[in-house]
Structure formats: structure tokens, C-alpha cells
Symmetry: D2
Subunit: 270 residues, 4 copies
């Protein structure tokens, strides 16, 4: 408890970085998932209380994987099995997951590292369909003077938010999207990272024209290694201010049996 | 940056408390708001990729004020005006709020204080419809040896999660619900707290039989003092472990123009 | 084509009876199904065109079996099989039904017969949990001077709309609900009726305290005999005006692969 | 009642034409309205009853104006007023329409006429952005040997369903869409038609590049003349079989205070 004082006094000068994209109807959406939509059920004035007060509130309809979000381990299966060899069919019986659901994803509160690949390569944004390899990750660590240790969160920048307002390009079904390839996935699993995130919808590399036909990195991370994936992050500000390591906090909604959750991840430095 | 090392090394032993309730269809819901519902759009096996992998994801339908959530300032108006005298009608034109929406609610990362009123009174849970007064808050501070300073988050415990599985009682339309009254609201505004939360759906005291006919504390906090309100929290664990002050972190979804957001607030001690 | 003139000239004096209940948030809902909710996405004034015109439209969230609705054959299975021995698991793969879905339910345009059981028994409404038997159906035919032939629609009145505004009673989870029993189901299948409907949510008899634990009539009609079921009808007006036979028209929404559809069935006499 | 026998005996040979498009996620959608989405809440096998039966049902999320649908009079306003000079703001207070809502749209059961403009012009489908004028309507009547009388439903064919599977073309935001212009609207209002429908999303002519910036025909029909509009119909089969007049039946969902309803309109000949 004495250190508690140290904790929050230290954080008095904490700088908090918002690593999320906004949620609104116009955001780019993966072909497999619903978009975001809200409609005000009540507006101010619809019902006015005796004291002149009124309220407004909305109905929200969205996918669990809409906008900046995290995938639970139950999101992907391989040959009918989830992580740990658990039967996917059994797990999903009843319409929600009895194991490995969103409610089993722990709150993330750990050291985070942002690896800036565009900066490594001296570009503003990576090319569509460009694979980020293990070599890129190692060199970025070198360039930025950081190391990745077990239990860390690793956020991989591509610069893709540049196209956030150009849905077709951002989703990249035909054009492709940059992202970690299988060697990068292995690099992460070898280091036993806690969780990993990127700035695209699909996280991993989508080659031009391939769409989401195969997602080997999802398989390796979620199914084989129990590493949750965060998608559609915005790491622009971290890059602009050269922040490579930080306290990483991500508090997913405790959706019982869900496969994903919208999130507002943050990076904190002091 | 040197202190960054101190930051996360210090937090290596951080204990994180989850202050939220789960999200599922069966949760108690305010009469004015939709409940939580999810439906798997795809289940594992619906579509199997060439490599044997498959995926599952859901459609979510919920209210912005469903489950543990935070109210944005645009949620309540008085005499047609939002906080700062802004016209509510103008603000809501278009179906979402052009000012004071959820996207304008800053990420909360500050000192937090939990005031345990049942413990103060030597009971397990407060009575339905019991007002928590400024005097209770002062005495709780005294008993727990804490002070509330400007910029703090103040979480007020009532023990109401005891009835979480008894919707009718929890919502308390006829029976009433314990919570801060206007004197408590003034106590909070005088101390210029950052944000405040409680364990009930309505946050403030609902007298038996009155329902939500008048919500003066919402008015005082949201409309008059720009203090956001967090509802349906679960402070049981904090109480059980006698945690009175902590780092409080709350990262609301960045819903553009929204009136509320489901959240997963946490308390961290080290 | 000559008879076409006869057709609509004859119908110039047609009297159309609306056999549906209204759709709004407050309607009684089966425990297994979502209710009805709408939220205006846009209101008049949100966006005004150059000519001063404006528009309003809503988002609708509902279950397929909400309000007055018809069940498709894929709604119920027995031992993993749908009507015709089709595998239910295979049929539902992909998240919608590849066989026997709502889009395969033909438009209903046939002779209809309304059997008034309360009138038969000299009561206003049948008792909760009271089974309507084959004997009741035969006696009603006798009393009303009608016969049921193959291809007819048979609507069975219980008077249950009397409790439409008392959700708990109407749904009857503990109290039970009147409706056809297995002998009545056999009576209908023997006469090879086209489709059948009733005024309750569950159509068939729900015995007090049993809830929806077993629904043998659904099984017999949908799975064994390919007879679709219409629920939550309102036959009050037909009864009041002593209408026993009529042209019955029901045009279900062509929901591809769906299990049900809200409908507005009508009876026409001339 | 004697004529009742004539009614349904006559209709024994009735041929029913389905004038609707299917409802599924992939259908073309107006920029202002949500699409159609369904998700099975339960699948067969999720819960198996004691007798081996199981059930499946879905959650539906859609716009009121999605797919084949009818507009209620409250859908459009002019200078803040609905049909009959009723104040739009007042009418929509509370989040649903207290006047002129979907529940006030009567069931349509009348003579119907289909005017085949492509056949008139000897083409398969009208050009994008081509206005259908009063002259076209008159000449079509002439060519098809029909007259339009007060109380009739007038369905205007353009052949646009040809592009149903090409969303971008079908919606025609940039390319435009054929449809009645203001002279055609006047032609309809002069004849005091009951209701009118077409095969496009917007019903009226959308000139290339103009999008939905102005919808004068909606204004004239809904606001000035109380004539409801049906959109996204499919009149292909009627055209193929040279059916010009028929019994027209449309039973909108009785959505209290709604602005539109999905429908399954039919044409019947005998």
C-alpha cells in the first residue's frame, strides 16, 4: 500500500495515448463482419420530467469484431478444434462459447512495445500486401533500442490508418493489406508475448486478390499459441512521438461466450 | 522516459481489480434501455478454409447504457440545454451528438477512491431506496482514512450486486434502489471529482415506487458539473480486500456522438 | 382474363379482416425469442433538402417469431432431422437454412375456416392451459356449419387476445395457455390442411408450469406433416361478426433461409 | 355469404404472382437505410427437448425500407409538415409517429394495373436516369388496353431488377436510376390512385450523379396526395406473361408509428 502512493503520484504526469479508431457508421468493415450502427431511441424532448430534465439514449448494432477490437481465442478453430484441443462444436453449442470466450480474456495491463516498420523502412506507410517478416521485427527492435520479453504486448505499426477514410483500400480485398506473415508470427510466439496488435482489420498480411481465404497467422497465434490479436489500432501518435515502450492497458468488454470485443486500448508513459 | 522503466517495473506486481459486471442476455436492464443480445452470425464449420481453419463471430445488439457503462454529458438535458448551455435539440440533430458525445469523454486514468457505505453502517447491503448522503461520504472517508481531491474518481459502494441475479429487485422500479442523493452530489461537485460511479443501474437513489420519474443527481452531475457517471459497477472485491484508493482506469469506446458506452473499469494497486 | 373482371368486380364489396396484432416494443414475447424494437435513425429536420423536404426512417431489431408470425418448416427438428428426413445440421450450416427456409414457404391464398372454440363452449375465453381437442374442432365445425377440406387454412380461436396487454398471462409460462393438443393436431393432419393458426404465442396447449418444455404439436405439424403454423393471430373480429369461412391470404416475407416471418394475415369475405 | 362460395370457388384457379425480391444480406441497399441481416440465436442441437425435438430461430436487424417495402405517409415531410399539414416534429416526438405511421396504412386489396414501359419502348430495361413521364404512362395504358381508375394500384415497370445482383448499378448513386418524374406523379395523383410501386429502391427517377438530393415525386405522392409508395418490387414475371390487370394485395406489417414496412405484394389473376 505504501507503493500505491508511489504508483499514482508517479502517474500524475502520465501521458496517455489513445490507440483506437472512432466508432461510427462510416468506418471500414471486414467483409465477414457487420458494421457499426447506432440509432437514438429517445431524444431530448421526447419525454420531459417534472423538473424540466430530459434524456437521450441509443440502440447499438455492431459486430464483435467491428472497429478497434480484440479477438478471443474461440474466434478461430483448426480442424474443428480450438486452442488446447477443445472441440469447437461442443464449445459453441447454445450459441455462445462455453470455453475460451471473451469473458475468459484477462484484462491486459503489462509492458507494451510498438515496432515501427514504416520508420524502419523510411516510408510513410507500407505497401499493400506487403508481408512484415521476423527480420523486420528484429531490425525494428534494434533500431528502436527495445527488446521484447515474455508477457509483453507487441504492437506492429504499418501506417495503414492513412487509408482509414478510403474503405475499399483499407479493407484491401483486392489490393491487399500489409501485415505480419508466418515468420513474424513465429517470432512472436517464440518470445511468448502476451498479446499482439496491428493497424489493419485482418492484422496479418493479406496478399492482393487473396482476400481472407487463408489466415495462417490467426491460426498460429489464436489456435496454437493462445495469443489474442488486436485489430484496427491506430499507432500513428506513438510513432510521431517516438514512443517505443509503455504501459499497455486494454480492458475488453466481459461478453460472456463472445468471440471478440470492441476495445479502447491505451499506451501510458511517464 | 527513464521513469517509464520505473513505471512498468513498479507495476510488475500490480494487482488489477475488475470492477465490471458480465455482459449477457440475462442481465438486469433499466426500463428505458435495451438489454444485451448476441447471435453468432457464423459458427465454426459453417465455412472451412483450405487449411482446415474456420471462424465464428457475432452480431451484437445492445443499448449504450447496458451493463457496466458510463454516461456521456449529452445523455441528460435540463430545460432543453446540455452542459455549458448548449442547445440539446441542435446537438442531437442528425441522430447523434455533435457536442458532448461519447467521443469527447476523455480516457480516465487517475487516482480512485472507493467509499464503502455498507461497511460504514455495518451491513452487507444498503436498504432499497436508501439515500446515501454527504454525511455518509464524509464518514466513510474518515473510517477508511482517505481524502477525496479534485480530479479523483469516486466510486460509491452500496452492496447492490447482491441482487444482480434478481432483476426485479436489482432494477428496483417499485422497491427502490440505494444511491447518492442531492447532498452527496453536492459533496462530489464541491470536491470537483473527475468522474463517479456506483453499483446500481441508476446510480442515484431511487425511492420506492418512484421509478425514474426524477433523477436530480444526474442533472447536477452531468448537466451542471460535467461529471460523468458510471453505473452497474461491481465493487465487491475491492470491499472484500479493503482497497480504498487505487489507480483507476476506464477506457470508454469512442462512439462518435453517442450518449453512453459499455465499459470495463479497473482499479490497480501496487 | 375475362374472369379477371369478375374477380375484382366481385371484390369491390370485399370486406377485409385484419387478423394480426400490432408490432411495438411492449408486445408479449416468448421466452425464446427477441421482442420488437425500432429506433428512428433519422428524424424530420435532421437533414433538409434544397426544396424543404426531409425524411425519417428506422432501424428495426426483432425476432423472426415476434408478434403475429408464421413458422417455416425448418423451425423445428426431431432427432436431428427436419421434415422429409433432411439433416438439420447440414441444413443450417452457414447460419441460414439451405432447405425448408422462409423463402420456400409459398404465399397462402386459399379457403380459410375459423373455428370458434370459446363460442362453442359459451365462454369469452378458454381457460389457461386448456387443451383444444379433435372433438372440439369437430363440434365447432358442426356448430358453425362448415367443413374443413384439404388445402384449407384452419384458424383456431381461443379468445386469448383478451390478455394481450398482460404479458405475463399472455405468455403463460407458469399459468399455461390454451391451444390444440395432439388429437387436434392429428385432426388437422388427417384433413391435410394447408396451414393452421391460433391466437397464442405457442399455438399449442401449454400446460401450467410446463413452459415450452415439450411442443408435440409443433413436431407433428412442422416436422411430420409440413403444415406451417401461424401464431399470435387476432381472430376477435371474425368471431364478433360470425365469420366462419373466407378467402385467407398470408404473404410471408421472403427471408432467405429464415425460420419464421412476421406477417399480416387477412380474411376476405364478399 | 352466398357470394363467399363464389369468391373462393372462383379463386380455386387463381394464379398468384409474387412481386417481391428476396430478403438476404447481399441485397442492394439505399445509402440512407440499413441492409438486411439475420443471425440464428439458436440452432438445432443447441437445446434438445426430452422428446428429441429441437428448434432454431433468428434475430433480424433491418431497416424499415429494406428490400421490397412500402413507405408510410410519415416517411417524408415538406417544410416541417406531413400530409394534411400535420407538424412533423410533433408527430415524431417520442421516437415513433403518433400520426400517419405504418399502423395507419390500410391493407391494400384492390384492382391493380402494371404499366410496362420497357415493352412500350421495345427495350429490355430502361436506361439509367431515364425519366418515366406522364406520356409514357398514357401510351402504356393504350398499348396494354387498360385504364387506370381511382382506387387502383399502379405498378410501373422499368426492368431494373436486371441489375439486382449488381448493387452499385442497382442503387445508381452515380449512374442514376429510371423512374417516374413529376409529370408521371401528377398523372397518378390526377387519377387518384390508391398506391403506386416500382422496381427501384428510390421509385422515382434519379438523375446520374444527383443521388437522392431531391425526391420531388416522393413529396408529391406522400406529402401532398397521401399516396403510399412501394419500392424494390419485381414485376418481371407479370411482364413476361403479359399481365396488365389483376387483384393486387399488399399486407404491410402493422408497425406502430413506423415509417415503412417490408412487404410481399402479390398480383392475382383468375
Amino acid at each position: 500500500m505504501p507503493t500505491n502512493g508511489a504508483l499514482w503520484k508517479l502517474l500524475a504526469d502520465a501521458r496517455v495515448y489513445d490507440l483506437s479508431q472512432p466508432l461510427q457508421q462510416s468506418i471500414p468493415v471486414s467483409p465477414n463482419h457487420p458494421g457499426f450502427r447506432m440509432a437514438l431511441l429517445r431524444r431530448h424532448g421526447d419525454m420531459v420530467r417534472a423538473d424540466g430534465s430530459s434524456a437521450s439514449n441509443e440502440l447499438i448494432v455492431m459486430g464483435a469484431h467491428t472497429g478497434t477490437h480484440i479477438d478471443a481465442l474461440c474466434h478461430v478453430s483448426l480442424n474443428g478444434l480450438l486452442y488446447g484441443g477443445q472441440d469447437a462444436n461442443e464449445a459453441q453449442k447454445g450459441g455462445l462459447f462455453s470455453v475460451l470466450g471473451m469473458d475468459t480474456v484477462p484484462i491486459v495491463f503489462c509492458r507494451g512495445v510498438m515496432l515501427d516498420i514504416p520508420a524502419l523502412l523510411g516510408v510513410e506507410v507500407l505497401g499493400a500486401g506487403m508481408p512484415i517478416t521476423s527480420e523486420h521485427l528484429s531490425k525494428a527492435c534494434e533500431r528502436q533500442g527495445v527488446e521484447v520479453s515474455p508477457g509483453d504486448a507487441v504492437l506492429i505499426r504499418s501506417g495503414w490508418p492513412k487509408y482509414w477514410n478510403d474503405s475499399e483500400t483499407f479493407v484491401g480485398l483486392s489490393g491487399g493489406v500489409p501485415g505480419p506473415d508466418e515468420s513474424a508470427a513465429a517470432w512472436l510466439t517464440n518470445r511468448r508475448v502476451r498479446v499482439t496488435g496491428a493497424e489493419t482489420i485482418a492484422y496479418e498480411c493479406i496478399y492482393p486478390g487473396r482476400g481472407h481465404s487463408l489466415l495462417p497467422v490467426h491460426r498460429k497465434l489464436l489456435v496454437e499459441s493462445a495469443i489474442c490479436i488486436i485489430e484496427s489500432m491506430n499507432l500513428t501518435e506513438l510513432a510521431r512521438e517516438n514512443v517505443s515502450e509503455f504501459l499497455f492497458v486494454l480492458t475488453p468488454l466481459k461478453i460472456v461466450g463472445g468471440t471478440g470485443s470492441p476495445v479502447r486500448p491505451i499506451a501510458v508513459v511517464s
